[in-house]
Symmetry: C2
Subunit: 157 residues, 2 copies
């Protein structure tokens, strides 16, 4: 009767339950909404924006595919494909890596930088309006730390 392996575990409290449901909703709605904003506004999908942005934050505006993929939360092959899309638009160029001929650098072109500058305010506004706005009065640093912990996935086992 009190066999722990057969026992039904404690269910979530109502507050936990609503938080989990609300997070589910946000995870579904937010990226799509922001992407739609940016496409509608500047014709630049969120994935491509993210790639350009990460490149721009680097001193030489270039990065190895490896590292860029990680920063964009994309698999390596997903990153390859995104960069190809950007390359055909002339926003990025690929160069063989000097110190390792297997590697490639994605390099932000001037056109790419200009496109980013143009799209940046739109992204900023979307993030503010659709997300940050709803957290006024919260301790954002504390929240950020909690999310960083949750975002650091331990392997499944």
């Amino acid at each position: 009767m009190s066999n722990p392996s057969a026992a039904t575990p404690q269910p979530l409290t109502p507050d936990e339950e609503s938080l989990v449901r609300a997070l589910g909703q946000v995870m579904h709605v937010l990226p799509r909404a922001i992407d739609a904003d940016m496409v509608g506004d500047r014709q630049l999908p969120l994935t491509e924006y993210t790639a350009l942005m990460n490149l721009s934050e680097t001193p030489e505006r270039r990065m190895r595919m490896n590292e860029l993929a990680a920063l964009c939360h994309l698999s390596l092959s997903g990153m390859t494909r995104t960069i190809i899309r950007l390359e055909t638009q002339g926003l990025v160029r690929r160069e063989r890596c000097e110190e390792d001929a297997r590697g490639w650098n994605a390099v932000l072109t001037d056109a790419g930088y200009a496109r980013l500058q143009e799209a940046w305010p739109s992204h900023l506004a979307a993030v503010r309006r659709r997300f940050l706005q709803h957290f006024e009065g919260f301790d954002l640093a504390q929240l950020a730390r909690a999310f960083q912990r949750a975002g650091t996935a331990e392997p499944t086992d």
Copy 2:
């Protein structure tokens, strides 16, 4: 010079910045991690689990495709396809709707209910371990309200 339409908007504060980045990480990592836990543990992908769960919470264990799609954060066609997958496993059955012959009800079978019972603790544990755990000490109700606001997407315009 002070032309507002040409002015660069205020960038995010460092705290805002890290919160946004951390949320991006979470949105990418969490669903995959929980899905992987459940598939590894119980062979039941998160999408299918969610459908079963929503059906089970209804008095007659049945629901119109419409409503179920909304609760599962899925498009209607995505829902159709998920239900078809569940149907071939015998976890769900489809019945014509009595009061409107265009409509269908997805009905949770006994096998489906059993499967859900079996998978439920695994889902619960994953949610606790990967998410809720990191928010001990937070005002969860307040957080939930903020996420509910953020999850209620106003149309893009």
